[in-house]
C-alpha cells in the first residue's frame, strides 16, 4: 500500500481560510489572525490557535470547527495546540478581514486606540470627550459616539452614528 501524500501546509491554510468565525461568520479564522501556525509533526497535522479573549465562549466552537473542516478534507491525525504568547492583537486581523467587517456593518478596529490603563491617557480622553474617531460602517460619517464599552460579544463595543442614527458594533482594538 502506498503512503498517501500529505496535503501541503499552504493547502491546509487555504482550507482554514474557508472556516468562518462562529460569532462573526463574514470573516474567516485566518482573517481573524488566530491561526498562529500550521505544521506537520510526522504524519500528524498540528494547528496552533490563539484565543482572542481569554473567556471568549467561541474558542471551543472554533476548535470544533477546525477539526470538522480538516476531517472533512481527509485529515486523520490532527492536534490542536493553544498558544498564548504573544497575546492576540487586533493588528492581526487581515486587511481583507477589516473590509469584510465594515461591509457587514461592524466598524473595524482603529489602530493605536487600545486601552493601556494609563491614567493620563484616560483623563485626557475624558476631558476631550473622546479622542477616538470611529467612522460609521453604514454611512461613513465620523460623527459617531460610544454607547457602551461592551457589545454583543467580548470583542465588540456599542456605538451609534449621530448622522444616520444607526447603532453599530465597533470591533475593539486590543
Amino acid at each position: 500500500m502506498s503512503r498517501p501524500v500529505l496535503p501541503s501546509v499552504d493547502q491546509v491554510r487555504q482550507w482554514l481560510s474557508e472556516v468562518p468565525d462562529p460569532e462573526i461568520p463574514v470573516i474567516s479564522l485566518t482573517d481573524l489572525g488566530i491561526i498562529r501556525d500550521v505544521a506537520w509533526d510526522g504524519d500528524t497535522l498540528v494547528v496552533t490557535v490563539t484565543p482572542t479573549y481569554s473567556g471568549c465562549p467561541a474558542t471551543s466552537i472554533i476548535n470544533l470547527d477546525i477539526e470538522q473542516a480538516l476531517r472533512d478534507r481527509g485529515i486523520e491525525k490532527l492536534r490542536l495546540d493553544r498558544r498564548l504568547s504573544p497575546p492576540w492583537t487586533t493588528d492581526w486581523i487581515s486587511a481583507e478581514g477589516r473590509e469584510k467587517l465594515r461591509a457587514y456593518g461592524i466598524a473595524p478596529p482603529v489602530e493605536g486606540t487600545a486601552a493601556d490603563g494609563r491614567l493620563a491617557a484616560r483623563v485626557e480622553r475624558l476631558a476631550s470627550g473622546s479622542n477616538l474617531v470611529i467612522p460609521c460602517p453604514r454611512c461613513g460619517s465620523s460623527r459617531t459616539e460610544m454607547v457602551s464599552r461592551f457589545g454583543s460579544t467580548p470583542c465588540k463595543a456599542s456605538w451609534r452614528c449621530t448622522e444616520c442614527l444607526e447603532p453599530f458594533d465597533y470591533f475593539k482594538c486590543i
Binding site: 481569554s54 473567556g55 498564548l84 504573544p86 492576540w88 487600545a114 484616560r122 457602551s148 486590543i174
Partner: protein, 259 residues
C-alpha cells in the same frame, strides 16, 4: 518547552500564588455575573457580563496552571468546583456582596487598579508560563480599569445621590483593600525568585491611580487604616460559602456530572 525555562521554586508556594490569583478572578467573576439580567440599563448589563466573562476566562488559565504545577491531575474545573471555602485563597474584597450598581463599580475599580499593577509586574515574570497568562490578561484588565475608573468619576462627580452612594461604597470597601498588599512566606519565595512581585511593592502605584481617580471623582479617600484580612490563607467571611453553594451546586448535587 516553556516549563523547562522556569526558575525552580517551591511548588507549594507557586501553587499557593496561582490559586490566590485564580480564586480572585473566579470569585469576582462570579460576583459580577450575578448582575446578569439585573443591571440598571441593558448596556451596563452586557458590560458587567462581559467583564465577568473575561475574569472567568483568566481563571481557567490561572487555575489550569495551578493544577499543572500541583501535579495531582486536578483541572481548573476540579479546583473551582471541588474545593470548599477554607481551600479558597481569594482576598475578602472580591467576596463582598454586590450592593447597588455604584458599590459594584467601586469594588471593581479598587480591584482593577490593583489587578492592572499585578499583571503588569507579572508580565515580566521569570516563569514564562506566568508571564504569558499575565500578558494576555493585562489587555483585558486595562480595558476593565478604564471603564471602572470612568464610571467611578462619572458617578462620584455626578448627582448628590450618586456621589453619596459612591462615597458610602468607598468608605465601606476601603478596609478590604489592605489585604491586597500583605505578603507572607510564600510571597517572599516567589518575589525572591522573580516569579511574582511582592504584594507590598504594588501599593505605591495603586495608590497613585486610586487617589488621582478619586480626586477626579470628588470623593474623599478614607483615613481609616484598619485592614480586614484572612482570605489569602483561607479564612473567609460568611459570604464565600453562599457563593460556593450556588456556584458549585451542580457538582454537589450530581458529583462528577459532565455534559
Amino acid at each position: 518547552m516553556a516549563a523547562a525555562l522556569a526558575p525552580v521554586v517551591d511548588k507549594a508556594a507557586l501553587f499557593e500564588f496561582l490559586t490566590r490569583t485564580g480564586d480572585n478572578t473566579l470569585i469576582l467573576g462570579h460576583r459580577v455575573s450575578e448582575w446578569c439580567g439585573h443591571s440598571p440599563v441593558l448596556e451596563e448589563d452586557i458590560a458587567l457580563a462581559n467583564t465577568a466573562l473575561d475574569l472567568i476566562g483568566q481563571t481557567q488559565l490561572w487555575l489550569g496552571l495551578a493544577g499543572e504545577v500541583e501535579g495531582k491531575g486536578r483541572s481548573a474545573d476540579d479546583l473551582a468546583y471541588l474545593r470548599d471555602a477554607a481551600e479558597f485563597r481569594n482576598v475578602l474584597l472580591v467576596e463582598r456582596p454586590n450592593g447597588d450598581f455604584g458599590f459594584t463599580l467601586m469594588r471593581q475599580f479598587l480591584f482593577d487598579a490593583w489587578h492592572f499593577e499585578l499583571l503588569t509586574a507579572l508580565a515580566g515574570s521569570k516563569d514564562p508560563r506566568v508571564a504569558e497568562i499575565a500578558a494576555k490578561s493585562l489587555k483585558e484588565v486595562a480595558y476593565h480599569l478604564e471603564r471602572s475608573a470612568d464610571l467611578v468619576i462619572r458617578l462620584g462627580d455626578g448627582t448628590p445621590e450618586s456621589r453619596k452612594r459612591m462615597q458610602d461604597a468607598l468608605d465601606e470597601l476601603w478596609s478590604y483593600t489592605g489585604e491586597l498588599f500583605i505578603g507572607d512566606a510564600s510571597d517572599d519565595v516567589l518575589a525572591e525568585a522573580g516569579v511574582a512581585p511582592h504584594p507590598a511593592s504594588l501599593k505605591d502605584k495603586w495608590s497613585v491611580v486610586v487617589s488621582r481617580t478619586l480626586a477626579e471623582a470628588t470623593l474623599k479617600v478614607p483615613t481609616s487604616s484598619y485592614v480586614h484580612k484572612g482570605g489569602k490563607r483561607g479564612v473567609h467571611t460568611e459570604h464565600l460559602g453562599f457563593i460556593l453553594a450556588e456556584m458549585q451546586f451542580l457538582q454537589r448535587a450530581y458529583p462528577g456530572a459532565t455534559w
